[in-house]
């Protein structure tokens, strides 16, 4: 696929930072780009390498905690927290990658869920280090070095850079030698091996890179939102959101996760606003909508939004 639609997409986002003044719209844009990047990171493992994970919140949480813990305990820069989170997540990704060489299909999916839930338990019990289940408020320290930015337009630019990098990473997998080899591993690991592809190493590398990028989005999210709650950042809900945006947008396509994120984030924001008030009985309705959307997509546009757009 040509890169033109993506260029338009990212250019519009950049343009919006100059034109749009409305805080709510800017907030939506930042979240779309952030969730899009997280979905793109998921897509590297789930779409390109074919390793469907429902535990990617583990990496998101490690990134979020990296930034929050280092910032509050040692007063370190948010960027250092982000880097540390990414390194720790890479190590965790290597562990998960190792599991992917032992477990296939549903067994791998279950292992990924367990993986994120173990981290949830650790984070919520290690009170001395992570403040336990109360979560960590991330202090607002003004300045770029500490990522204390009141101007949402600057945030748009920061997440846009991450989004473009995530997009380019996927494009690399579309056209490069490693990308072809990874596609072969996804389609049939034994056949890939028989053709000289170092399948295991490639798969582990893809999962590790995916983990690192997810952690980066987690760290940025923590700084942007200002609070890290273990039950949110390590939740299965969040993992499902990454997978869902990627699948709805187009599994294994570079722009897909971003299109999926537009849809998922918009719908969720709308439904929360409509039905989410205190005492409302339909708080969880967005889950029903997600489920329905997934069924509809799988039935009518199995290649996702990107595949559907390409055909029409």
């Amino acid at each position: 696929m040509s890169a033109a639609p993506a260029a338009v997409f990212f250019a519009l986002a950049a343009l919006a930072s100059f034109v749009v003044r409305d805080a709510f719209l800017l907030d939506s844009l930042i979240l779309i780009l952030l969730w899009g990047s997280a979905a793109a990171a998921w897509n590297v493992a789930g779409g390109y390498a074919g390793q469907i994970s429902l535990g990617h919140s583990a990496f998101f949480g490690l990134g979020a905690y990296g930034a929050a813990v280092l910032g509050t305990r040692w007063d370190l820069s948010a960027w250092i927290g982000l880097a540390v989170g990414a390194v720790v997540a890479t190590a965790a990704g290597l562990v998960l990658g190792f599991l992917s060489n032992r477990l296939r299909g549903p067994y791998f999916v279950l292992a990924t869920i367990a993986f994120s839930q173990v981290l949830l338990i650790v984070a919520s019990r290690l009170r001395a280090f992570t403040a336990g289940s109360e979560g960590i408020p991330v202090p607002f320290r003004p300045g770029f070095w500490t990522l204390g930015l009141a101007d949402k337009r600057v945030w748009v630019w920061i997440v846009l850079v991450v989004a473009v990098l995530a997009y380019l990473l996927q494009r690399y997998l579309d056209v490069s030698r490693r990308g072809y080899q990874l596609a072969a591993v996804r389609e049939d690991e034994d056949a890939a091996l028989s053709l000289g592809v170092a399948a295991r190493r490639l798969k582990v590398a893809a999962i590790a890179v995916s983990a690192a990028l997810t952690a980066v989005t987690g760290a940025l999210w923590a700084q942007y939102v200002g609070f890290v709650d273990p039950f949110y950042v390590f939740s299965v809900d969040l993992s499902v959101r990454f997978a869902l945006a990627s699948i709805i947008g187009g599994l294994g396509t570079a722009l897909g996760p971003f299109l999926g994120a537009v849809l998922v984030t918009t719908v969720e924001t709308y439904l929360r606003a409509q039905f989410g008030g205190i005492g409302a009985g339909l708080v969880g309705i967005y889950l029903v909508v997600y489920g329905t959307a997934l069924i509809v997509m799988v039935r009518f546009a199995p290649q996702g939004l990107v595949g559907w757009l390409r055909r029409s």
Binding site: Y180, A183, D190, A191, G196
Partner: protein, 240 residues
């Protein structure tokens, strides 16, 4: 000096011995057929040579280099390519993409790999299908695709598992011709084949397996009349 040397290979699965002390050599440029009734251990032997199974005893060497214990991708990079009896195309990739994966084992340059893949796709007669997804191919075309993919890794030894199995009668001659051409171009081949007419048409040497052991090794007409081979295929009643 032999290209492939199999020495005393034994492979057990639980109580079953699939390969028992199998030994033979293949000279460079030779085309050797492997026959045997179902369960004789032909496919197991291929899995061992290509690195998917590790034998309990014995050694496989390619040009003196030990292959036993190496992973399949290393074995491929050392020069052994194979096809699968149960075809395994990369269904979601195009024909060209499938073959490029093989070519990329020998070159780092994607454009170069694409050119090579195009040549090989034409060589096996799939040029009209180059941009079609592998899942849309017929069985005969898939066999050609597997062959093309394996050839793209530029093997010194090619293992073919049932080239004509499951293919309709009319496409068999073309596949046989393809194997002949590969042999004529100097490639060394080891071919598992059920169809005796096919195997005797392309090779000067057949190895017969039965219950995991080599029971005959020689020219096709000699092997076909071998007492042990006839017994293995038809039972004792048919041996005079």
């Amino acid at each position: 000096m032999s290209l492939l040397s199999v020495a005393g290979v034994t492979k057990r699965f639980g109580g079953i011995t699939a390969n028992r002390g199998i030994s033979f050599d293949v000279a460079p440029g030779e085309l050797v057929g492997i026959i045997g009734p179902n369960g004789a251990g032909k496919s197991t032997l291929f899995e061992i040579i290509s690195g998917f199974y590790r034998p309990e005893e014995g050694d496989v060497r390619l040009d003196g280099v030990r292959l036993t214990g190496l992973s399949p991708d290393r074995v491929c990079r050392l020069g052994v390519a194979r096809t699968f009896q149960k075809l395994r195309p990369f269904a979601g990739l195009t024909v060209l993409g499938n073959v490029m994966v093989g070519a990329l084992t020998r070159t780092k340059d994607v454009r170069h790999a694409r050119e090579q893949a195009r040549e090989i796709v034409a060589r096996v007669g799939l040029e009209d299908k180059a941009d079609a997804h592998a899942r849309t191919l017929s069985t005969g075309q898939r066999k050609r695709l597997e062959l093309a993919r394996a050839l793209a890794t530029r093997p010194r030894l090619l293992l073919l598992d049932e080239v004509t199995g499951g293919v309709d009668q009319r496409t068999i001659p073309a596949l046989v011709q393809l194997v002949r051409e590969l042999h004529a171009s100097g490639l060394t081949l080891l071919v598992i084949e059920h169809n005796m007419r096919v195997i005797t048409a392309v090779t000067q040497r057949i190895i017969a397996l039965h219950l995991g052991e080599v029971i005959a090794d020689g020219p096709p007409d000699v092997v076909a009349r071998d007492r042990a081979v006839v017994e293995a295929y038809l039972g004792q009643a048919y041996t005079r």
